[in-house]
């Protein structure tokens, strides 16, 4: 210590140490609050603590800004970064009561999201329609097309070999199989075929929408092939009634998924003022809402199919139910949640 030079005066006062001394209490308090929110939820805070949380958070975030410009204490900087990030997640975390959120979603969010994709929905509708027509004409002239186009799991022994009587008795006017069986049919249908198709149609939208359109057309083709099979045996009207009871809802659900997928495709293809990824993210959320809502429609369709289809044994009544569901869905998507916006 020979060089007792001028440099730092023996009484050391670092700006960063002073700074820390004045604010540390607030950080510690924020830390305990954040930890409580993380482990026991935001409800574990009292009203007073709930009020303190955002102001402590803002104090911490301004501490971080200051510390970054004046302090070189590595532990302090890392701690503040970590603390503000955790507080940020506590303050801006999702804030929903599950039940309330679900209700609001079906009352307003879902129909509103559907209204934003009405043009995409029309395109999806057109795709299905094209498929139905194609499937119908092809099968009408040559029933070999039916076996070629309809997967065996869906055909379920129906095909060119079916007779009018077997179709009427085993399919269209088959007796109701009882609650357990009906539930099984419902559940398996819900989670094997339709939902898979719906989710595929939705999420393949990210591949520029081409697979979405192809799948939609293919759904139409299958339906068209079935119609032609029954048309050739003179029972097309009965078949349409048999499918109308749940088909209106089911096709609506598939087309909604398709519309959502097409909306994502549009976001990915024409990013506009944002980056492509950012834009997909922006559109993806509302599209996912539609897809989730479509699950509800699939559910309703499965209930109608498993529960009511074989109980209602008259074609007229089936058409009536199908028409009523169609009108109800139109009203729901057209009107629900609008009043609150106006």
């Amino acid at each position: 210590m020979t060089e007792a030079a001028a440099c730092p005066a023996p009484a050391i006062a670092l700006k960063s140490t002073e700074f820390r001394r004045g604010r540390e209490e607030g950080w510690r308090e924020l830390e305990t609050l954040v930890e409580r929110v993380r482990t026991r939820g935001i409800r574990s805070l009292s009203a007073e603590e709930l009020q303190r949380l955002p102001s402590l958070y803002r104090a911490a975030i301004s501490s971080l800004s200051v510390a970054r410009s004046i302090a070189l204490d590595r532990n302090l900087l890392l701690y503040l970064e970590n603390l503000t990030l955790r507080a940020f997640l506590a303050v801006y975390g999702p804030r929903v009561a599950i039940l309330r959120g679900t209700l609001d979603f079906f009352r307003e969010g879902f129909p509103a999201a559907v209204r934003t994709v009405r043009w995409h929905f029309l395109i999806a509708f057109a795709a299905v329609l094209v498929g139905v027509l194609a499937g119908f004409w092809l099968t009408l002239s040559d029933e070999f097309w039916f076996t070629a186009m309809v997967p065996s799991g869906l055909a379920d022994d129906r095909g060119p070999a079916s007779t009018r009587e077997s179709l009427l008795q085993e399919e269209i006017f088959a007796p109701w199989p009882g609650a357990a069986r009906a539930f099984g049919t419902m559940a398996s249908f819900l989670f094997s075929h339709n939902t898979v198709v719906g989710i595929l149609v939705f999420s393949l939208g990210i591949a520029a929408g081409v697979p979405t359109l192809l799948l939609l057309v293919y759904q139409g083709v299958i339906y068209g092939a079935f119609i032609a099979l029954h048309y050739n045996r003179g029972i097309a009207v009965d078949f349409l009634g048999w499918t109308a009871i749940h088909g209106v809802t089911e096709f609506a659900a598939i087309m909604l998924c398709g519309a959502a997928g097409l909306a994502i495709a549009e976001q990915a293809l024409f990013p506009g003022r944002y980056g492509r990824m950012e834009n997909v993210a922006l559109g993806g959320r509302s599209a996912a809402q539609i897809a989730i809502g479509a699950m509800l429609l699939f559910f309703v369709a499965a209930v109608l199919e498993g529960g009511f289809r074989q109980l209602v044994a008259s074609t007229e009544a089936r058409f009536a139910i199908g028409a009523v569901t169609g009108v109800l869905w139109l009203l729901y998507f057209g009107r629900a949640g609008r009043e609150s916006a106006a």
Binding site: A5, P8, L72, S203
Partner: protein, 297 residues
């Protein structure tokens, strides 16, 4: 300065985590660590196990009720699929919504789901990222399993496997380790272990006095390495470091082993005071190679 933080982390832990900046709604950039794939895989395995057990328990409960007794195998399987679907979707949605973006598995590993643009995590985003998981993994998995029971053509298996492989590999192909669901929802998964605030290493009074010249040799990077070394003491290493510093600053005296820690702490204090002061005057110094007074970074 952030770069000094990162360089020290890289030096000490061998590799830097992938870091990314979120800008909070207040306009302050927050550095976040992108979660490793390994961590996410562990979290997912934990969650998947819980879901499987939950489904199995529900299934057994259902079958001990008289309602299920008459059901055939086909119906049983349909119910099973139905339950599995409900359980896993409800599980992920419920926890990510109520636990601020963490499921039990993620909490165990210390991961969180956050909005990629720094906004609040919206319920719609949580729904979107979890619904997409269905097509990424569960549906092809279900198809593979159900197809294996029946006859299955080779290319179907290949196509399904390729599909799953593609989606599983997707996080490897982008910087933020996003899976398809994260892309659609605008979210990302970050690692957020808890850090503690340790005592300040600054000494209250100066036992050793250093000259301006002696303090003008090192920069923020070396200072923070020294800080880390003092926080996890290793006598041999500290001795080596002290010797190096003494040589560099031409310290006249030799240090006895009991003096090493007090000396290093005093040097740390003086060095930090000096560097912080010059940083305040706009002359931040990143490391020993940068010219004194040159801009940091």
């Amino acid at each position: 300065m952030t770069s000094a933080l990162e360089r020290v982390t890289e030096l000490l832990e061998g590799r830097g985590r992938r870091r990314r900046e979120l800008v909070s709604p207040e306009g302050v950039p927050l550095a976040v660590d992108v979660a490793d794939l390994g961590e996410r895989a562990i979290a997912f395995v934990i969650d998947a196990l819980i879901c499987v057990v939950g489904t199995a328990v529900l299934y057994l409960l259902l079958f001990f009720l008289p309602f299920g007794s008459g059901a055939s195998a086909i119906v049983g399987r349909a119910i099973m699929l139905f339950l599995a679907f409900l359980v896993r979707n409800f599980y992920f949605l419920y926890f990510e919504l109520t636990w601020q973006g963490a499921t039990p598995g993620k909490r165990g590993v210390g991961l969180r789901v956050v909005d990629r643009r720094g906004g609040p995590l919206l319920p719609a985003a949580v729904i979107a990222r979890n619904l997409t998981r269905e097509i990424e993994a569960f549906i092809p998995l279900g198809l593979l399993l159900s197809l294996s029971a029946q006859s299955r053509s080779g290319w179907e298996t290949v196509a399904l496997a390729a599909w799953m492989l593609l989606f599983t590999a997707l996080p490897l192909l982008n910087r933020d380790r996003l899976r398809a669901g994260d892309m659609i929802a605008g979210t990302m998964v970050i690692a957020l272990p808890k850090r503690l605030l340790l005592a300040d290493l600054v000494e209250a009074k100066a036992d050793y006095v250093f000259t301006e010249k002696q303090l003008g040799l090192y920069g923020a990077y070396e200072l923070q390495v020294l800080e880390e070394l003092l926080r996890r003491p290793d006598p041999a290493l500290l001795r080596e470091v002290a010797d190096k510093i003494c040589r560099k600053i031409e310290w006249p005296a030799t240090l006895s082993s009991s003096e090493i820690v007090p000396f290093l702490r005093a040097f740390y204090t003086a060095q930090r005071a000096q560097l912080e002061r010059s940083q305040l005057f706009g002359k931040a110094r990143a490391d020993k190679f940068s010219r004194p007074g040159a801009a940091a970074r």
